[in-house]
């Protein structure tokens, strides 16, 4: 079986900083794959390279088609959508307008309405707040907007950058449930970047561990969860 998304030997430089030093990873259809690692390891950079926000060297393929040379705005059309770190919602647009921006590349009103309703069933809170400016939402609510906006693009592979950042434990659990739900119901493949390694491993099929720009370990999430060195470095005991 071919992976839906594959990175091969990806390098990213920020000026003199060599942030990614040959990262390779695969996401297969219907998988939740998490990417964990310490601060500054290069997780966000990996997702940015995937979305075309930073230039990179190496190969990125989506369904065996190479996309590394495509500009950012074309990659979303191939089924790659990202909920960025720090959320990046449009603060002066309402919740609903934010979601509609997610469907920018589509013009089929019917389906867009359905997708929006689907997001509202995932996050009923957003429905209550649909005409509130996104900039005035709480952090957790903004996270919901960012995820929903990415969903509106009907991704085949959803990229989530720290969806649990700064959220209360109860909401974190909710968000992970939703990720799992999307994966099972919509057969969506998900690449999840997380600081909360325990949660991430619990909910994913496979995982990659990253250290200073390189993948140092990979395997089944369940195996990694019981791996001693992982427990010491990332799970806090």
């Amino acid at each position: 079986m071919n992976p839906v998304l594959e990175l091969e030997d990806l390098h990213v430089h920020y000026g003199s900083i060599h942030a990614l030093k040959g990262v390779s990873l695969k996401v297969f259809a219907g998988e939740i794959v998490s990417l964990i690692g310490a601060n500054g390891a290069g997780k966000t950079t990996t997702l940015r390279a995937l979305s075309g926000i930073v230039p990179c060297r190496g190969r990125i393929s989506m369904n065996s088609k190479e996309i590394q040379t495509l500009p950012s705005h074309q990659r979303v059309r191939l089924g790659l959508a990202q909920s960025p770190e720090g959320r990046g919602v449009f603060p002066l647009m309402t919740v609903e307008e934010n979601l509609d921006m997610g469907a920018f590349i589509y013009s089929d009103k019917e389906q867009i309405n359905q997708d929006r309703d689907f997001c509202f069933t995932l996050f009923p809170r957003l429905k209550e707040r649909r005409s509130q400016l996104a900039g005035t939402l709480s952090g957790g609510e903004q996270q919901m907007v960012a995820i929903s906006r990415a969903l509106m693009a009907r991704p085949q592979v959803l990229l989530l950058d720290e969806p649990s950042l700064g959220l209360a434990p109860l909401i974190v659990a909710q968000i992970f449930e939703i990720v799992k739900h999307l994966n099972e119901l919509k057969k969506m493949s998900i690449l999840l970047v997380e600081q909360n390694a325990r949660m991430a491993l619990k909910f994913s099929h496979r995982a990659y561990v990253m250290e200073t720009g390189k993948i140092t370990l990979s395997g089944n999430a369940a195996d990694l969860l019981s791996d001693d060195s992982i427990r010491r470095s990332y799970l806090g005991h």
Binding site: F90, F104, Q132, A153
Partner: protein, 331 residues
């Protein structure tokens, strides 16, 4: 908005103009004409600086291109009035002027808008100066002396009512004010128009949602330059004389002030500010006669400072004049 709104507003404004034409003295009429020119300038710059979130400082440059194009055309190329209705010429001059400015806008915008960040301010600032210096050194355009004898539309009569030349100019001007207003309004309120605002709010996010951000920015910039060129054309026919010194950086900054004062990202705010800023120095003139000294600019600046302190988000912020008092959105 109703389909017929542009037509209805044109008729209403045209009728209002009849009164202005009959009851205002020539001095106030000229002020009024400048108000219309400034409204177009403010609205068009607001598309770039307000809605698209880029910072252009070169509006005077595009205006100059329009003004000189129109001046040259109207003094060198006049079609026989018997064949083409007189007012149509002036509409045609401003159309061509707008197109020239738009081409310049494309040439400047294409390379500089590709970059993210504040490069545009520097590039447009430089562009404005370059245009000014080119005109300054071009003898065909009058150089530093300026361009004299630019005709304005001649008076028309209307069912036995003899009107002043002001009214002819006024008709052409409001036609463009309304065109500018409705084109920009329709552009930004369509689903695709929200792309402009998404760039202002988070360019990277906009990009990753499939918006070709460079293209949208260039589109906004070209449209804005077009209307700046039109405003320049109207300006030249209203003043009958233009000189390079008119289109200095100060002029660009003045338009930026209108946009910031009115509220970036409001349609009506910059219009209001354009009116205030064009009228304020004139309104303060009696004061000068009273004191015998020109304190106008001091007072004008003080008023601006106070306004910005009281309303840092601009007079209307992100709202429109018709929903200013309504609290629909949480801000």
């Amino acid at each position: 908005m109703m389909k017929s709104a542009p037509l209805i507003s044109f008729v209403i404004l045209a009728l209002m103009g009849l009164m202005l034409d009959q009851f205002l003295n020539p001095y106030l009429q000229r002020t009024m004409a400048l108000v219309l020119v400034n409204i177009i300038l403010a609205m068009s710059l607001n598309l770039v600086n307000g809605y698209t979130g880029q910072f252009s400082l070169g509006h005077a440059g595009f205006m100059a291109i329009g003004a000189y194009t129109s001046a040259y055309l109207s003094t060198h190329w006049v079609a026989p009035a018997a064949i083409v209705p007189h007012l149509l010429f002036f509409i045609f001059y401003s159309l061509v002027s707008g197109c020239f400015a738009a081409i310049a806008g494309w040439l400047v915008g294409q390379p500089s808008l590709r970059l993210k960040g504040d490069y545009l301010a520097i590039v447009t600032l430089g562009f404005g100066e370059i245009i000014r210096v080119i005109i300054l050194n071009s003898s065909a355009l009058g150089g530093a002396r300026g361009y004299f004898g630019i005709p304005g539309p001649s008076p028309i009569s209307f069912g036995g009512l003899a009107l002043n030349a002001f009214y002819s100019f006024y008709l052409v001007a409001i036609l463009w004010v309304l065109t500018c207003f409705f084109v920009i309004y329709r552009t930004i309120s369509s689903t695709h128009g929200r792309a402009f605002m998404s760039i202002r709010e988070d360019e990277i996010a906009a990009d990753s949602l499939g918006i070709h951000t460079t293209r949208v920015k260039v589109k906004s910039f070209v449209l804005s330059s077009f209307f700046a060129g039109v405003a320049g054309s109207l300006f030249s026919h209203c003043m009958n004389f233009i000189a390079p010194s008119t289109f200095s950086m100060l002029m660009s900054i003045n338009v930026v002030i209108m946009v910031v004062l009115g509220g970036m990202g409001s349609m009506t705010g910059p219009i209001l500010a354009a009116v205030i800023i064009s009228v304020l120095p004139e309104a303060l003139r009696p004061l000068q006669e009273l004191t015998g000294q020109d304190y106008r600019m001091v007072i004008y600046s003080l008023i601006l400072i106070v306004l910005m302190l009281v309303r840092p988000q601009g007079l209307l912020g992100h709202k429109e004049i018709w929903n200013f008092w309504r609290k629909t959105r949480v801000e």
